[in-house]
């Protein structure tokens, strides 16, 4: 076990996977010599050589397109999109190609591929460094979608994603890279170095895809969250005193519906939190699944706390970001309804 940041945990997952299997190759913009703008791949080129970790041209579509060809060849590309906001040029390659290859070729060709990207806001990155596009991936059959919320999970889930035989979208909440941010932007910054979830097992232990984690047990209301919102939800529960059960979904596709349903059946109430814009966000899917499975257990309308349906603003970041204030309000409301 070692105490590390999420960046270090991600780097270590790469390292473990590359050491174990020389089919694992890593590339993306600035990931080679420099080790990535967030340093998640630092040291890998030096250790594994330029043909296993290299810089790519600034062409997200080409990065994914070539990685699909490599995956079809039999390699395991783990690629980085510099910010999730820049994944859209690659959307066609992901949707029309990576996601469908196994199905349309009846297993003749497959696409084991991990597409990593920093996601979410909270860093004054404005509209082009803050977006949370998970819903446009969860809608696509054939993709898996993972979003860790702490160093321990980041390492274990990334190892699981690399081992997975299918394409995995791996979203890294950049505001959590260095510490467990709870949305209180005016308080001192915390570090993973002292946080229990910053304690990361050595070796190649995976955290399985498709399993949620109960971040905080509670009896009164179930909060479904992922990424940065896990810590915001935890803070909101603490601050309001509402006995919320906070579930960190970890994998959005496939989703751990059993854990969700069990919790909601117990609490009878549900709040869904995400950073992404509300309409057609993954929260809509979550609420639908819950109402389908738990209709007769629900004691109050479910509530969504999300980013507003506007582009992500720069100056108004903290009015946009779903912080502990807004989540806390929802907790109080759902308990009153």
């Amino acid at each position: 076990m070692a105490q590390m940041t999420m960046i270090e945990a991600i780097r270590e997952a790469h390292d473990v996977a590359m050491a174990a299997d020389d089919k694992v190759v890593v590339f993306g913009e600035d990931v080679g010599f420099f080790g990535g703008v967030f340093r998640c791949t630092a040291g890998l080129q030096e250790k594994y050589g330029k043909s296993r970790c290299f810089d790519a041209p600034i062409n997200e579509s080409g990065i994914v397109g070539t990685a699909i060809g490599m995956a079809a060849y039999g390699l395991k590309p783990v690629i980085e999109i510099q910010f999730a906001d820049y994944v859209y040029p690659a959307y066609d390659q992901i949707v029309s190609e990576a996601a469908r290859l196994r199905h349309r070729s009846n297993g003749d060709f497959t696409c084991p591929l991990v597409i990593r990207m920093p996601t979410g806001g909270g860093i004054f990155g404005g509209q082009t460094h803050s977006q949370s596009p998970e819903a446009i991936f969860t809608h696509v059959s054939g993709l898996k979608v993972v979003i860790p919320s702490n160093p321990r999970d980041a390492k274990g889930l990334l190892l699981a994603a690399i081992a997975d035989p299918d394409p995995v979208i791996f979203l890294e909440p950049k505001r959590l890279y260095n510490g467990p941010f709870d949305g209180h932007h005016d308080k001192p910054i915390e570090s993973w170095k002292k946080h229990p979830q910053g304690n990361v097992p050595d070796g190649d232990e995976i955290v399985p895809l498709g399993k949620a984690h109960i971040q905080r047990e509670g009896a009164d209301v179930t909060v479904l969250a992922y990424g940065t919102m896990v810590y915001v939800a935890e803070a909101a529960a603490k601050e309001t005193g509402v006995d919320a059960e906070v579930i960190d979904l970890r994998t959005l596709m496939p989703l751990d519906l059993d854990t969700i349903v069990e919790s909601v059946k117990k609490t009878g109430r549900c709040v869904v939190v995400h950073e992404a814009t509300r309409t057609s966000g993954f929260g809509g899917e979550l609420m639908s699944l819950v109402q389908e499975a738990c209709f007769y257990h629900l004691e109050a309308p479910m509530i969504r706390v999300t980013g507003w349906d506007t582009p992500y603003p720069h100056a108004q970041e903290w009015e946009y970001f779903p912080g502990p204030g807004r989540v806390g309000e929802a907790l109080r409301k759902v308990m009153k309804d």
């Binding site: 041209p57 062409n59 579509s61 080409g62 397109g65 029309s96 349309r104 070729s105 060709f109």
Partner: protein, 411 residues
């Protein structure tokens, strides 16, 4: 300047000839067969820039094979090549009719372009991988992929290797070096580069080929392929099949009526050339050169195959609505089957009689395979793939939500 200058206007390129017009290819510059020399396979791309503005040709009007690029194939190989092209044409004709009879939903033929894929296939080695479009079935025919399997896929019957999931003719065969066709234009061009990079990363000796149509060179993935191929010197042969037409739009809409498609390689330092796509010998010779270049680590080649789409774009299309009916006949590079046939006759290795006999045999074979396929089923009758199967293969292991949905569907 400014307010003093004349109003601007939009330039919209027009083909030389629309329905009712008389085709005129006199502007189309065709070098003599043998005129373009064969550089060494390690030639510096900058040293052979002129090849992107000329056309490699081997067969002349008299049916002789001339110049540096001639002589790569034996007579037996040439006769086999002829048989491949004839088989593809017959196969196409039968399947085109089958579609009209409602036995499948859709078909696309190769009429006039048979040489491109049939001749190219011969330049590759087992283990190499093609990333074809829907108009390179010759790669399968020439590598002896079973016609029956092709038909089963076209009919989406119970023996369809793709379990009915994919459109007809969007074949896939890893064993035959034929990557799963997606149907989205351009996407696979850059994947071929990735596959080649993977071979290089792995210290392997395999190469790959990418394929794209003239119209589809406009797609952005074309650029991605060029950027990655040139940056990493990938062992890939990138093929543009310029058959003059997309659907209703001529190649000028993809390149503004200036330059050549091959010249796109120059901005990337990629070796680039054009070849007479209706000349079996020329296509093969050029393919061999480029494949060797790639395999020896000299990097990518961009080949523009100059040919003509003599048929409709697909079974959904009637070309008489947008181009002259005479255009195909006026096409100056002739018909690939006719040209190879004449060459073989010229050198005393073939005859009209043997040709007629081969035609009849091929038709017989295709018909009997067709009967076999139809005995299994067609899109509208016989044994179909299971509905249950539609839920398989979305992921290696079926996740819970798909198991639930399959139950809900009742399969």
């Amino acid at each position: 300047m400014g307010s003093d200058t004349a109003p601007l206007s939009l330039n919209v390129p027009e083909p030389g000839c629309r329905p009712g017009d008389t085709p005129d290819f006199s502007d189309f510059e065709i070098p003599r067969a043998g005129e373009v020399g064969r550089p060494d396979v390690d030639a510096d791309p900058d040293a052979i820039r002129d090849m992107a503005f000329s056309i490699v040709r081997v067969l002349n009007k008299e049916g002789e094979a001339v110049g540096d690029w001639a002589g790569a194939l034996s007579v037996d190989e040439l006769r086999e090549g002829l048989r491949h092209m004839m088989t593809l044409r017959t196969f196409d004709a039968r399947m085109q009719i089958a579609q009209r009879q409602g036995k499948t939903s859709f078909y696309m033929q190769h009429l006039g372009e048979e040489a491109v894929s049939c001749a190219f296939a011969r330049a590759l080695q087992p283990g190499d991988m093609n990333f074809p479009t829907y108009r390179q079935a010759g790669l399968l025919i020439a590598s002896e992929y079973p016609m029956l399997t092709m038909m089963n896929q076209i009919y989406s019957n119970a023996e369809d290797p793709l379990a009915g999931r994919q459109l007809p003719i969007m074949y896939s065969s890893k064993a035959h070096g034929f990557f799963s066709i997606s149907g989205n234009l351009g996407t696979q061009f850059v994947q071929s580069v990735g596959w080649a990079m993977a071979s290089a990363i792995s210290g392997d000796t395999k190469i790959s080929t990418g394929w794209i149509g003239d119209g589809s060179t406009a797609e952005n993935d074309f650029h991605a392929a060029m950027v990655f191929a040139s940056t990493y010197k990938a062992p890939v042969v990138l093929n543009i099949v310029n058959n003059q037409w997309a659907i209703s739009t001529f190649q000028g809409i993809a390149r503004g009526g200036v330059g050549t498609f091959a010249a796109r390689g120059h901005g990337f330092g990629i070796a680039s050339l054009r070849v007479d796509g209706n000349d079996y010998l020329a296509v093969h010779a050029v393919a061999k050169w480029a494949a060797e270049r790639a395999r020896l680590g000299h990097g990518p080649t961009l080949i523009e195959h100059v040919t003509y789409r003599a048929g409709g774009h697909s079974t959904s299309d009637d070309p008489a609505a947008y181009r002259s009916k005479q255009e195909a006949a006026a096409w100056p590079l002739g018909d690939p089957i006719e040209r190879l046939k004449q060459h073989l006759i010229k050198i005393g290795e073939w005859s009209e009689d043997r040709h007629a006999q081969a035609e009849a045999e091929i038709l017989d074979t295709v018909i009997s395979v067709q009967k076999e396929a139809e005995a299994v089923g067609t899109l509208t009758g016989g044994k179909a793939p299971s509905a249950r199967d539609m839920f398989e293969g979305v992921y290696e292991t079926m996740p819970a939500h798909l198991i639930r949905q399959r139950q809900e569907a009742g399969f």
